[in-house]
Assembly symmetry: C2
């Protein structure tokens, strides 16, 4: 059976040619990030992903995480793999050096984490959630908290979790009921139940650091009364050694459609007297801190869409090359590999072009994240942060929706075998399904996009983005090759579609909010498709430069053809989506609820 092999060539191409790794090396603190160092990291990560994580993907799915006596045991091999992961320093990649991290750019970390996610989605969630918890403590923790928790979390000795959701509080954080009672000694006792807690308990580390949203007594109602607490599984003594078992227990794990190896826990805090925790930052500011973490987590989940699509594509391509079935439609004496059949090709090209467009877009956003953090000029940092804020819901929403489509095509290419679990295509299809839901559904992303990210600044940041797209269009249109004419025309149409939709959203957001909101997800998809097409146009231009420079590597003409496929098969949906945004609101909202 085929297994995952990291697509290093495309990863390097995107990092270096589209996301401007070199530019990052000129930022403060970026001197050591030479292309050679980055190459070495990528190669080692690729090996680790293929040799350690990928072999545990199917066995982990079959076995699942075990729950007994309020404790979770990870599937066979996971504990050892996690130890290697930590020993090889992978958990500390983009963490700040002051807590033991390697301080690598997010761009490089994104590429590396794509590999973890492709190789073993369920495993990758544990370090991903830890990363979110680290960022929250780095940004908002007090010096004691940082000293107590961060070194061991950065090293990977302990993992972290995010405890947000409660049965009545999913998308709606205002409904959170978990209570925090001050003990007079600076600590609090936490009482409440949290659900959907990823890796909420496990046996891979000695301790787990839970970040928990809760309300103090007398806190205001709604989202303005939520505070963030750090609640370790085992209390930590001042010298860093482990103390008593805290009153935070996994009382059950969910039976899920996918990511079986990742325990999704129901966590009970305080059933036996109260779980001891300390406040992170200020009281009632928890939502703000959560959103800081959330942006990183949303971007990371977007990468999961890309990653599962890449893995599904590899498996489908390998099957299509091996599976001999039927004669060629244009005539052949012998049955042939199905990769030759036009419709299988269409599916493979759809998968390939979407994977490459997603990677190009996501890594470019990762590069902008680095500029937003590292640029010497504050104005540049702000400008780039605004772009990151705008594009994060697009990356989360479009990449995960697309990841699902691609994983489904992977099943389809396998024919009957796609439905048989042993073949592995079905696992990607199942695992992918959570990505459009957790860390905010596609609907939540789309509302964030049209509201906070576009309407709130009157579309100003969006206009900056559109200007960048138009610049790429004009470079593309200048090329004389016919493929570039195809790409330029489709991109132009896409840009017009986005512009029309944005104007409609900005104009209607106050007066006709429900109609505008009814088109939020179609708009997000429109943005994703056009940003993907834009990124593929940039990729085609970069490939052209290599070809013109005499480079004979097949990779470059293939990139141009793939961009051309995206332009002829995917971008044409843009005008249709713009029409849905502009004209679809009334029929969406017309039916009284009783008439459904």
């Amino acid at each position: 059976m085929s297994t995952y092999i990291a697509p290093l060539k495309d990863i390097r191409f995107v990092i270096k040619e589209l996301a401007d790794l070199e530019g990052l090396t000129r930022m403060p603190g970026g001197e050591e990030i030479t292309p050679e160092v980055v190459d070495a990291i990528l190669e080692q990560a690729a090996r680790f992903a293929s040799c350690v994580l990928a072999p545990l993907n199917r066995s982990g799915d079959l076995e699942g995480a075990h729950w007994h006596d309020r404790q979770v045991t990870s599937p066979r091999g996971f504990k050892e793999a996690y130890r290697w992961f930590v020993d090889n320093g992978w958990s500390a990649l983009s963490c700040r050096p002051e807590h033991g991290g390697q301080g690598l750019p997010r761009l490089v970390a994104a590429a590396v984490s794509e590999m973890w996610k492709s190789a073993n989605h369920a495993f990758s969630l544990c370090p991903m959630l830890t990363m979110g918890a680290i960022e929250a403590l780095e940004l908002c923790g007090n010096p004691e908290q940082k000293a107590l928790y961060l070194p061991k979390m950065v090293s990977g000795e302990w993992t972290g979790t995010m405890n947000i959701t409660e049965p009545q509080a999913g998308s709606d954080l205002a409904a959170i009921r978990t209570r925090a009672e001050p003990q007079g000694d600076g600590s609090y006792r936490i009482f409440g139940q949290k659900i959907f807690i990823t890796w909420g308990d496990h046996d891979m580390t000695d301790n787990i650091v839970h970040l928990v949203l809760a309300r103090t007594s007398n806190a205001p109602e709604g989202v303005k009364g939520i505070s963030l607490f750090v609640v370790p599984k085992f209390l930590v003594n001042a010298d860093g050694s482990l103390g008593e078992r805290n009153d935070a227990w996994c009382v059950s794990v969910e039976k899920k459609l996918g990511i079986h190896a990742s325990p999704t826990c129901v966590m009970a805090f305080g059933d036996n007297g109260g779980a001891i925790g300390t406040l992170v930052g200020q009281e009632n500011e928890g939502l703000k801190y959560m959103f800081i973490m959330m942006n990183a987590a949303r971007f990371a989940v977007g990468l999961e869409g890309l990653a599962v699509a890449e893995a599904a594509y590899q498996k489908a391509l390998s099957y299509a090359r091996e599976r001999i079935q039927s004669r060629a439609i244009e005539g052949s004496t012998e049955p042939i590999a199905i990769v030759h059949h036009p419709d299988v090709r269409r599916m493979l090209m759809t998968m390939k072009s979407k994977v490459e467009a997603m990677r190009a877009l996501a890594y470019r956003v990762a590069g902008i994240q680095d500029l937003a953090q590292r640029h010497a000029d504050q104005e540049e940092r702000f400008r780039n942060q605004a772009l990151v804020d705008l594009l994060t819901p697009v990356v989360k929403g479009w990449l995960t929706e697309t990841g699902n489509e691609v994983a489904s095509l992977g099943v389809q290419i396998h024919g009957g075998m796609g439905f048989i679990e042993e073949a592995g295509a079905a696992q990607y299809f199942r695992d992918a399904r959570i990505t459009t839901i957790y860390e905010g559904t596609t609907g939540i992303q789309a509302n964030d996009l049209i509201g906070r990210k576009i309407a709130r600044d009157d579309g100003v940041t969006m206009k900056v983005l559109l200007e960048q797209m138009k610049q790429t269009w004009s470079e593309t249109a200048r090329q004389t090759d016919p493929e570039f004419a195809v790409i330029a025309d489709a991109l132009a149409e896409g840009i017009v579609a986005v512009e029309e939709a944005v104007n409609y959203i900005v104009a209607g957001y106050l007066d006709d909010l429900r109609s505008v909101a009814a088109g939020a997800v179609p708009f997000l998809n429109l943005m994703g498709i056009v940003c993907g097409g834009w990124s593929m146009a940039l990729a085609a231009l970069a490939a052209k430069a290599h070809i013109d420079g005499g480079n004979r590597d097949d990779f470059y003409p293939a990139k141009i053809t793939t961009a051309c496929f995206f332009a002829t098969h995917i971008l044409p949906q843009a005008p249709a989506l713009a029409r849905v945004v502009l004209q679809g609101g009334s029929s969406t909202l017309a039916l009284p609820e009783s008439m459904f």
Copy 2:
């Protein structure tokens, strides 16, 4: 937890107003099919589906079919449910009266089987496959075979299977290797292995009648050397009593993504001396017979797409009405049911409009099937059969692709609960996934559509269909209400898109076959969307007539709004798909296989 309730109102509306049940009652043999009889049947079926089949859907999924000692045991409750099914006469609904059937129109049978499929997809496969086997024997069996098998299969006392696929022969029947050796007494001994045999073994009946494709010695190579055999699990004595156990065994069952309660068997024929069978019809004509059955089976699988979408819609709607989460985007003091949120509405309307469009199209095709069989005038029978042949791959391909999309939206509306198996939305998502694969993948349907059904007759039948669509358009355009203008405009654009694509296909099929074939699936989707939009326009016109006649039932304005939603949200994809068909071929095929 919500359960399935048959959508009788829409079912009746489509049967009576769009598929012309009344016309059928005027056909020979249709006198007894009064509206009252049909209503009574639908109501009883609805009750059986909700009370007997639906409650076994989740338990059957959890438990799955059991295999041990070359025998399959069905999940708890299935045996009893099957007995009730038979005792209530449901297995014989559309079978010919001469073998004990009730001879009801396919239109009515389609509606009833939609209910079985919605309530319990896995269960419904057993009678569906039996039906296919019955049709094969009715059409091609000799008198002895008919006398020996048909009465007990029609009554449901025995079930039937179709044994087509082998490991190397999936879509490609030419590769079939199973052998049949004549014994000199008119019987054959069958040797070979068949895979993916639905309900290939079980404990619900005393006997199972396998129809098996195999090659006789000296048969020509390829599809011209395939013969069809009837191979019972237990040999049948001349008096109808059961004789010896035949050498046909289930040697394993597959672990699948979905339809767990339906055993998917690996069948070994002849491992112990040869499975005794008799030839159906003529030697080497097996493929022809297979295709007769296949059209019925493909239509039936298309109905599965509709059925799973209906069930997923009901579950999602019920959840959306119950789940309280977040405040209204336009402002509200208290959290509200999520059905009020614009994006949830958009998803529900997408589900609802697609379900209704699928039902309208499928039942209309079922009505045409009846005309093709029952019309007194031979020319009319031929004309209608040509339409059935043209539309069958559209029903199979588009309804199943759409069923998957709708089931996925059902998961999405459930948010995090959608990923938890207990909620049930995930099961529909898993179960639906097989429908675009078995009985010919979407790619196979699309090739059939553009090749055998369109190019082969130079688009003549397609033009008949387009004329019918245009007539509906002109009726729609004549209405003065603004909703009808929206519907008419979108339909007109869709018709133009189909026409352009058909012209391209007919013109290019000989000279540029691979490019045309590269657009086959986009064309099938285009056809599905436009046929769906056409059917919804007819539905809106019928609803309008009721409203104009003074009928105040909410059902009718809701139907017009739903048609309008389909016109503004789904039909706009038509021009984009036509562009993919016309312009997408070259970029699909440009990449050499090595460059993927």
